[in-house]
Amino acid sequence: MKEYALLIIATALVNNVVLVKFLGLCPFMGVSNKIDTAIGMGFATTFVLTLSAVASWALNTFVLEPLNVEFLRILTFILVIAAVVQFTEVFIKKVSPMLYQVLGIFLPLITTNCAVLGVALLNTQESHTFMQSLVYGLASALGFTLVMVIFAGLRERLASADVPESFEGAPIGFVTAGLLALAFLGFAGLAS
């Protein structure tokens, strides 16, 4: 269990998928205007990222490696991610149309989130086991959600701050993201 706890800390804080690996920057900047929206997007990403990590691990272990067709990895992983997103969409629509109305909108956006593909590829690169892949995917998603919510909170405050005109909007957002990345460097050495 200690191994998994270290993996969670190392993935979510030390090697954060957004601030250290610079993956998933589009939703990080695009859906972080409000805390509520950021949390909603975070939950949806957590779901898809974790399932994609597990599904791509299974595909790699049970199909690609035995058949010696690892060169198809990126292509098949993209298909797996798209399939997981579609499955999630169908499931939510089936469970409750209202739920789909409220939550479904984040799903197409997740298909284009490079963090999902990045985590799936890193899993195979690190030769993780099933449980390690699952924990790695979940911790990456938790790290993504954490920085999204922190950043959304900062941007909500920035919206009412007296920012120089040329810095308003995206520029001050990028400056803030840079400072946040520097702050996360403080976790370096905590776990590797």
């Binding site: 949806a44 272990t61 499931f91 409750s96 209202m98 789909y100 409220v102 984040f106 099933f130 924990v135």
Partner: protein, 174 residues
């Protein structure tokens, strides 16, 4: 175009509740219930904006699917009317947490079980899938209950535009 306000929007304006809103079209009316259809829009309301997150392009590619909903007709809306509906942000977060995290907890539970039992990866994968299935099933069971259906139902806030432009202000009548 006539706009009919209702008490819910006043409550929202006073800052008591924080609502996510969407505009839907009434397709049919059955007694006290109204069938509406919406064209999936984002909670941030920037779907139609080209400077947004890119959802506009994705919607153009995948198609703007309409979603049927059945709501209480507390505004006396008629076929063709466009009404604004709203749901509390806190409810959205609660629904998100339950619907997305329950299957993941199931998956994690299955994986943890295999880890404790020190099984092979194939069995661990099977147990994980089983946990995921249980999580999905429980999630579905939860939302199929009437109490939850009511809980996640949005409220009709106002009529944005009347289908026949002859809409009578309900507040004036009362």
């Amino acid at each position: 175009m006539k706009t009919v306000e209702c008490t819910d929007i006043e409550r929202e304006d006073s800052g008591e509740v924080d609502l996510a809103r969407a505009v839907v079209t009434v397709v049919s009316v059955e007694g006290e219930r109204v069938h509406v259809e919406s064209s999936g829009t984002a909670a941030c309301g920037q779907c139609a904006s080209s400077g947004g997150c890119g959802t506009k392009s994705l919607l153009a590619f995948f198609g703007n699917k309409s979603i049927p909903l059945v709501l209480d007709n507390n505004l006396g809306a008629r076929v063709g009317d466009q009404i604004e509906i709203g749901i509390e942000h806190s409810k959205i977060l609660k629904i998100s947490a339950l619907s997305y995290l329950l299957p993941i907890i199931g998956l994690l539970g299955g994986g943890a079980l295999s880890s404790v039992a020190k099984t092979s990866d194939v069995i661990a994968f099977g147990l994980g899938l089983m946990g995921l299935g249980i999580g999905f099933a429980y999630s579905r069971h939860l939302y199929s209950s009437e109490r939850w259906e009511r809980e996640i139902l949005p409220v009709c806030m106002r009529v944005v535009s009347s289908g026949d432009e002859q809409y009578v202000d309900l507040k004036t009548l009362s």
